[in-house]
Subunit: 591 residues, 2 copies
């Protein structure tokens, strides 16, 4: 090794030791006859000291070191006269007797500090420099630890990690596949997996009993902020299980991960049905770090000649505590404009303020007297000093809009405590979702999800309307308003799977071509089974209270799917195209 | 759960317990009033018993169970009257009181037994049934355990697992890339990584210090037996290391893996230079489980009017012990034909037998007297009763041929003990390999490998012949004649890397286009670093004394790169091609 110690481990008890360190120059200060140089590696920062009186040649060499030079320094550990309590090595310094420059560095295009002066693009271009910054490096180290703890826990529970293939078959339903031309099979293509779904089910048919894998998945989507074309899942499947077994197992995993990486003890996770989540929070991934549940006002508000409410399918609101006095008319105007932005799309915002002098100020004071409005606030759990926000209109849309407003008010009122985690199981999802545009059903989870046992007869014999009311044995793990994981009990019966493909608009031929192997497997003793997949990038981010998954990926792509550091994708050689027996359409256009 | 116990855990101490098991029907026997049914899961096999006298309905239901039906059975654990000592559960059986059929099964197309009657193709088609067989399942479980132990060990040594991207840039040098058209960047392609080589070096530049990853890699090669288009590596890199540090670290890993999966204590690994390996065993991956080292006879055999030897660049042989009497003329004839097969390509085989009556029988008796030949045998470490095999010709080719013969004799003479492991570090590889066909140098390891420090001046200033003699800081881990891992100290200096690209025939533009990001990174403080990659599939196979990696991959592809179970690759929809802005050449040919 080029070192005997790293830059993070020396303490006062090491004083007097002869050591060799290697690392990067963080910064240097010349103070009269002394030069102090901070040298940095993954483990920490240690101060080197050079004395012009004692060794002029060495000290002059040290004074020429630039930022990010790589050096090797040997010397004696000394106690510092002015200690630095903010640094674990802050009690000592190295009196250097030998210095080698292992590599030089140009001046980096941004500062390698916790808070850098570099913009997004330049940091993506020079990812290797950005990764030297401590917060980014800690994210990557956290991710590694989280993966290892995941594996240790699942191993302790009898799970086997099985690698499923990356070169699989394209299934044009759902999200878009990345395709890979096969040179050995001209005209044919592999696809990169959007998830190992069918393979993990096959592993259950194969009797593996408990499978997991931390695995890259691929989706060729138009990239929105914080989507990546390649992302990582903790992918799991179990045989001979009911829904309870899966929820318990993966609640156990989640608690283990929080405990063993953050030291956080999570309480048992509450469960909430999909219907209740929508009714109470307008979302199937409610953020429970703060309250403000919804209250439906149809019974109270209709029939009082306020035509907007009378015509609305749903009138729903929530209480914001204690802001009746502090939220001025202009605050309310600004908030109204906020909900009217196209991203939210509400027509307007109704509010009712219960002032400290016991009066009511409201946008709907003309239609309802003060006592009525006070009775609403009381019924909704509010009191004097509170404000109620109300939206109305078509049910789904209104809930979604009010959910956005609730989240915004949570942020504005600082109701979210850093380090607070509120996990939740959302259960009892609908099996199918009717899509008006394409006039067909979509699978709410995916086509392999089982209806609830009691709903199977209705699924096999029901009419169109019945199908809309079918419930699935599907569940999501939500933490702090983010969907962390989702899964289901799967269909393990060929006839039921076939029926589901019918409902989803697959022809017999399509179903057979794409998923014949799985339906075939179901004929050879498929056990009851179910599973879950966690979004690993998202889990990393949520556990660290951050919103962007990109900060937890060593080499993320930008919003155009481009790796800016290596400049990929790129043009390829003509002979590569020819070998794959493909041509570029733009080249054809030219001809 | 559909069970309270699994099929492998019940023992005599559980007698009297009420239990529920779930699993697959292995087989049934009707013996008079009793039906015995073996039920199987991942954990083992348990015998169920049904009594016609006590419960006729249940017993008749049991008699209708076919092989591979999935059942759930509840009952009482009883001591067996005739115990089965070969099975951990052999002391007990379950007196069944309740039986549910969870799923039926068609008759499987081959038997689900350790030794099956199914051929390769049908087992690939029905991989989910093949995976139910215990030896295959144990392979997959072994692989999972090996991966976990790898991670635990490397974590204990301070390594961070970092996921590198799968959608990267095509580098047309070396093996062929699989390419992936980018829909968002029409006309441009990603490539799937052949290894994360440049990314792990970038991580060293980024200061991650110790990186590893168990990662899929991709090579679009014409598939030979036991090559897979996707394969798995344990990929590692360390900063501030010399070659010793890497060998010690990964010798430690290898010992840990053998100890913690097989219970085998490996001794310290011997080291052998590339030159010595070729000289002594004719191979850079010698199998040291048996002896028979080579002995060069040029000095002794030339100048005795035997023109074949006189004209040969190399005359080399080895001693096969104790077979002078047992190996007949016809054995020798057959062996001669064996080395003359095109796969080996020797012109003929010289042998010298030292018979028990002290006479010599040899194909070259005309040219050398008995005492001379005896003196050869003695010099080669042989004695009366032994045979010496000799080949001659051009050095490289002759060594290769004799190496094949040595391996064959090792097999024929049963010199390989099952469970014997002989690891070895091969070091001091040449840096460059001259390719006569293309009239250019190839990197023996890869273009990022550093020459030995003492060879750098010769590399920077030497002539063509000098380049052939440069040694690299490269090393291979060989176990039982299989290359398990390989790596090197890397170049971390832009000028030296640039010189290496020159030598390898890259133009400045090509080098910059393909690897500019890495050379750029070297300008911002790249630390000295090096690493290694283990072939994980191969390691699994070698540790289990098996020759095929396919048996350790859950879903392998066949020799045409095809997944026979899912039938991939396959045709894709026109709209998928159109979205990627590509067309099939065969479609163009038609137009």
């Amino acid at each position: 090794m080029y070192r005997t110690k790293n830059c993070g481990e020396l303490r006062i008890s090491d004083v007097g030791q002869q050591v060799t360190l290697s690392g990067w120059i963080q910064k240097s200060r010349d103070l009269g006859g002394l030069t102090f140089t901070d040298v940095r590696d993954r483990y920490g920062i240690t101060q080197l000291v050079f004395n012009m009186d004692e060794n002029q040649v060495l000290c002059e060499k040290a004074r020429k070191l630039g930022r990010e030079f790589v050096i090797q320094a040997s010397g004696i550990v000394r106690e510092r006269s002015s200690k630095n309590a903010s640094r674990p090595t802050g009690d000592i310094e190295i009196e250097v007797t030998e210095l080698n420059i292992l590599n030089e560095s140009k001046v980096p295009p941004f500062t390698i500090e916790d808070e850098t002066d570099g913009g997004d693009d330049i940091r993506m271009n020079y990812r290797y420099l950005d990764l030297r910054r401590n917060p980014v490096q800690q994210n990557i180290i956290f991710r590694s630890k989280l993966a290892l703890e995941t594996r240790k826990y699942l191993d302790s529970q009898g799970f086997i990690e099985v690698e499923t293939p990356f070169l699989i078959k394209s299934t044009p339903e759902g999200a878009r596949d990345f395709v890979v031309p096969s040179r050995l099979n001209p005209g044919q293509f592999y696809a990169l997996p959007q998830s190992p779904q069918t393979f993990k089910q096959i592993l259950m048919v194969a009797g593996l009993d408990k499978y997991f894998q931390i695995v890259k998945c691929f989706r060729d989507e138009d990239l929105r902020a914080d989507r990546q074309p390649e992302f990582t899942q903790i992918d799991c499947e179990m045989s001979f299980v009911h829904i309870e077994d899966i929820l318990n197992t993966f609640e156990g995993l989640t608690k283990h991960l929080f405990k063993n990486t953050l030291g956080t003890d999570l309480p048992d996770f509450p469960r909430m049905s999909y219907d209740e989540a929508l009714q109470k929070y307008g979302s199937d991934k409610p953020d429970l770090r703060f309250g403000m549940p919804f209250y439906e006002l149809n019974d109270k508000a209709k029939g009082k000649d306020f035509s907007i409410f009378d015509q609305a399918e749903l009138i729903v609101g929530f209480v914001a505590e204690g802001i009746a006095e502090s939220y001025s008319n202009s605050n309310m105007k600004e908030l109204t404009e906020w909900v009217q932005r196209p991203q939210i799309g509400a027509k307007g915002l109704v509010y009712v303020k219960w002032m400290e002098d016991d009066t009511i100020k409201s946008t709907i004071g003309k239609f309802y007297d003060d006592d009525t409005l006070k009775s609403w606030i009381s019924a909704m759990g509010g009191k004097k000093g509170d404000v109620v926000f109300i939206l109305s209109g078509e049910t789904d849309r209104t809930r979604k809009q009010l959910s956005e407003l609730r989240l915004e008010m949570g942020r504005r009122l600082n109701l979210i405590q850093p380090g607070d985690f509120k996990p939740l199981w959302v259960i009892d999802f609908p099996l199918l979702e009717w899509d008006e545009d394409s006039q067909r059903f979509h699978a709410m989870h995916h086509p392999f999800t089982s209806p609830k046992k009691e709903d199977i007869p209705r699924m096999l014999n029901g009419d169109h309307e019945t199908m809309k009311s079918l419930r699935a044995d599907a569940y999501d793990l939500v933490i702090n308003g983010a969907e962390i994981g989702g899964g289901s009990i799967r269909i393990h019966d060929r006839a039921l799977q076939s029926k589901n493909f019918d409902l989803l608009g697959f022809s017999k031929e399509e179903a057979e071509y794409q998923f014949g192997f799985l339906m075939g497997a179901f004929e050879y003793g498929a056990p009851p089974h179910g599973g879950i997949a966690f979004g690993f990038d998202r889990l990393c981010a949520v556990m660290n209270g951050q919103s962007s998954i990109r900060d937890f990926i060593a080499f993320p792509k930008n919003n155009q799917g481009r790796d800016m550091m290596i400049d990929a994708p790129s043009l390829i050689h003509e002979h590569q195209l020819a070998e794959c027996r493909i041509a570029l359409v733009k080249d054809l256009d030219k001809k």
